[in-house]
């Protein structure tokens, strides 16, 4: 009996906008309009500025741990491929996509200031709170997609995660579940080459991260993660497939230009030459070059935009820092629509059963406005 090939697969890699700003016109057809590219460039630039300021806020004691998004702004393109009713199930390095999907930027700052209101996603926005533990949220996306399919809702769930997350069991469960249930899910692996200090070479022996999706019957794609055109096109095709019951995994090849978080120092484990090389592939640089080559952008526009971004970011920071202090009683108000009498009594007396109802605790009522804006760190 001859040996037959049981299965064979190939992984496509797509780049449409190269490092020099050159565009593959054929692949770019019917993707982003000029206006959309200008808008994305301005948006990515604003995100970069906000990211830098958030970093400084941490260093001057006004923000807890913060993971910089620098270098991965092109992920914003996913939000243009998504429809308003689609879900975003993020971790923490796709802020640019979340803002474009409608999330008020100050909420991310509030989150990292340890203010729970940063996780209170406004009604009508289909975004889940950022998931800090690595990989836990892909399962939620699989569930959301499955629910949409059962209910017949015209919705797709996008979920974002890093290269390191693919080593978590939850990733495999989520992929398998989505695949076997035909759930409309788009798994987006932002392969930024580093999982804190673990390089891609030590993360997996696979040639690509995308191929892991093949095992679960996902349609897979590898794209240049700093290329807004390629991301848009892959994401839009993934939406169409998802609605036909075919989930997709997209691996975006990008690079984390900053540290893992403000508690990290990548210089301790990363070759400076590698970083310098990655800077040349910055999504902002190539997008600007492209716009300039098409006379869609000028130095004057750049200058005006920088001023505009400064003002806008100042405004975002002001909205986060000037929010009224939370009240101590807020901790009772989030869980129940109608508060049970026992909790109401605790709220009203600020005494707890477990502590034995010491009368001295009454003082908590007066001194209890102290607000500790801390947050358990991102998976450190």
């Amino acid at each position: 009996m001859p040996i037959k090939v049981a299965y064979q697969a190939t992984i496509e890699y797509m780049q449409i906008l190269d490092e020099q700003g050159g565009l593959d016109a054929k692949l770019a057809r019917d993707t982003l309009t000029d206006d959309q590219v200008v808008m994305l460039y301005e948006h990515m630039s604003m995100c970069r500025r906000l990211d830098e300021i958030a970093f400084k806020l941490q260093r001057s004691g006004r923000l807890g741990t913060y993971p910089q998004n620098m270098g991965q702004e092109a992920i914003a393109s996913v939000a243009l491929a998504a429809r308003p009713q689609d879900w975003m199930v993020p971790c923490y390095r796709e802020n640019a996509a979340l803002y474009l999907h409608g999330l008020p930027p100050e909420m991310i700052l509030l989150h990292w200031m340890g203010d729970e209101r940063g996780n209170q996603i406004p009604e009508g926005l289909n975004i889940t709170p950022m998931s800090i533990p690595i990989g836990s949220h892909m399962l939620h996306a699989a569930g959301i997609g499955w629910a949409a399919r059962i209910r017949g809702d015209d919705q797709v769930a996008f979920t974002f995660f890093g290269d390191g997350a693919t080593s978590e069991g939850d990733f495999h469960e989520a992929c398998n579940f989505a695949g076997v249930m035909h759930a409309p899910v788009v798994f987006i692996c932002q392969n930024n080459q580093w999982a804190i200090s673990t390089p891609r070479s030590k993360q997996t022996r696979s040639e690509t991260f995308a191929q892991k999706g093949i095992a679960y019957g996902l349609k897979v794609r590898q794209v240049d993660g700093n290329d807004i055109f390629a991301i848009f096109r892959a994401a839009r095709e993934a939406v169409a497939d998802a609605l036909k019951g075919q989930p997709t995994m997209i691996e975006t090849l990008t690079y984390r230009l900053g540290d893992h978080t403000t508690a990290d120092d990548a210089r301790r484990y990363r070759d400076p030459a590698e970083l310098e090389a990655a800077r040349k592939r910055d999504p902002l640089i190539r997008t600007r070059k492209y716009l300039e080559s098409k006379d869609l952008w000028s130095a004057d526009q750049e200058e005006a935009m920088i001023e505009r971004n400064k003002a806008q970011v100042d405004d975002i920071v002001a909205r986060a820092t000037n929010i009224e202090k939370p009240k101590t009683t807020d901790i009772f108000d989030a869980m129940f629509a109608t508060i049970p009498p026992e909790l109401a009594r605790q709220r009203d007396t600020m005494q707890t059963n477990s502590l034995g109802q010491f009368p001295q605790q009454e003082t908590l009522r007066r001194g209890a406005t102290a607000h500790s804006p801390t947050q358990s760190p991102a998976h450190a």
Partner: protein, 455 residues
């Protein structure tokens, strides 16, 4: 972690610069008293145990005071910078620079440092190498660090990187190519307070603060030859640990030699039989494991807080390891449950991990006694410093050929010098000597060492 912030907007207290950071070393001030600063402008460069970071200003304003000297450790929560109150107006003081140096508590400084006040500590030079571009250079912290290490004023370099950023290449070019590249800071002038001509070099105990002065017989180094290396990072951690050991443990050392001729034959035999390379070290570790079964006082640690001596049932062997990143002590847990070959494999694995810095944290903790192989290069006996809270450390010197007396006759054999340092608070002299004698005896009749000490 918490970020305490002051309720007074004119006071900026040092925040947690990372995550769970309690202190940071002040590397350099980037502003001076009287300067008008903008929000987010860099005030200082500081180094935590994790990273070199820039500390930005939380507000716009005029600097009223800077607290802390360069090179000093600042605690999170202490006041770092104060701003002038709104009523003070924004006019910078004309003598801002003077105020800055005066604002330091100069009376607390040792004499020699006071003489240096005003010069730059460290290797940053104020001499511009290239025409100043005006304002602060854009550069990554890594590049800034490089500039500081090479003694280049980064603000004077014309950056070729993105948006005028100064790149690593720019700094190296400025350091190598530029004419008159500045030397490091001038050497300290001899204070003249050292021992006088003809006097012995021993300082009288009553002499205050022994500031180092070059011995008079040596010519003072010419300008530019003295390299100033900031005392920080791993080096400082090592220094603090050793200082603590000397300040805590009452050290004494007993020394002897073991005739390891038979052991040398045995290890070669073992190597041939197993196909693995086998050094002396695993045998010595095995001998220690056995010896401390008879002298449990040596396999102990001191809990200073509880004022208790903890004697340990198993031997977790610390191996003092010299790496290019400094000294560390990886641990073979339960070494007494391992045979010589297994110990040898652990040693090789730890050596490899030490070289590529991949030793997991838990393998650097929990040793109960330490061995230090000082003899790889030269040296016979040593007075090793105890790895506290342990109470004993054995230094192994270089094995050499020497004359041994056996049965009244002279022979040429292999001699291994051994130096056992103990904490006299816990271990008596006779006990240490008897323990060392047992180690020597075990090494001289080595067959029993092959099996684990503990079964």
């Amino acid at each position: 972690m918490g970020h305490a912030t002051s309720s007074d907007p004119n006071i900026f207290i040092l925040p947690d610069l990372g995550e769970g950071v309690h202190e940071a070393e002040l590397i350099a001030w980037k502003v001076a008293v009287g300067d008008t600063v903008e929000e987010h402008q860099t005030l200082a460069e500081m180094e935590t145990d994790k990273a070199l970071v820039e500390v930005p200003s939380p507000r716009a304003g005029v600097i009223a005071s800077l607290n802390g000297r360069e090179g000093e450790i600042c605690k999170v929560g202490d006041v770092l910078v104060t701003y002038e109150g709104a009523s003070n107006g924004a006019a910078p003081s004309p003598n801002a620079r003077d105020e800055r140096s005066e604002s330091r508590d100069s009376s607390a400084l040792p004499e020699a440092e006071r003489e240096d006040a005003g010069t730059v500590v460290g290797s940053v030079s104020n001499d511009p190498i290239m025409p100043s571009q005006g304002g602060k250079a854009l550069a990554t912290p890594a590049v800034r660090r490089l500039a500081r290490d090479l003694g280049v004023n980064i603000d004077s370099i014309a950056g070729t990187g993105l948006a005028g950023r100064v790149t690593e290449k720019d700094v190296r070019a400025a350091s190598n190519g530029a004419p008159g590249a500045p030397a490091s800071a001038p050497p300290p002038s001899p204070s003249g307070r050292g021992p006088g001509r003809g006097a012995t070099a021993t300082l009288a105990p009553s002499q205050p603060a022994p500031t180092y002065s070059p011995p008079p017989s040596l010519p003072a180094p010419a300008a530019g030859q003295t390299q100033r290396i900031p005392f920080r990072g791993t080096r400082r951690t090592i220094a603090a640990r050793l200082r603590q050991s000397i300040d805590t443990a009452v050290h004494f050392t007993v020394m002897d030699e073991a005739d390891v001729s038979a052991l040398d034959a045995l290890r070669k035999q073992t190597a041939a039989a197993s196909g693995e390379s086998v050094s002396f070290l695993p045998f010595v570790i095995s001998a220690i494991c056995r010896a401390v079964k008879h002298f449990p006082a040596l396999n102990a640690t001191v809990d200073e807080a509880a004022q208790e001596i903890l004697r340990h049932p198993s031997v977790h062997m610390g191996i003092a390891t010299d790496t290019e990143h400094g000294l560390n002590v990886p641990v073979i847990p339960d070494a007494d449950a391992l045979g010589v070959l297994e110990i040898g494999r652990h040693v090789a694995q730890l050596a490899q991990m030490a070289r590529d810095r991949s030793i997991p944290r838990e393998r650097l903790m929990g040793s109960t006694i330490t061995i230090s192989n000082v003899g790889s290069y030269a040296g016979r006996f040593a007075t090793p410093v105890i790895n506290i809270p342990e109470v004993a450390i054995l230094a192994v010197g270089r094995v050499r050929e020497g004359v041994v007396v056996r049965n009244g006759g002279l022979h040429v054999g292999k001699l291994m010098p051994l130096s056992l340092a103990c904490d006299h608070r816990v271990v008596d002299g006779a006990e240490a000597a008897r323990c060392l004698a047992l180690i020597v005896e075990l090494l001289q009749s080595p067959e029993q060492l092959l099996a684990p000490a503990r079964r």
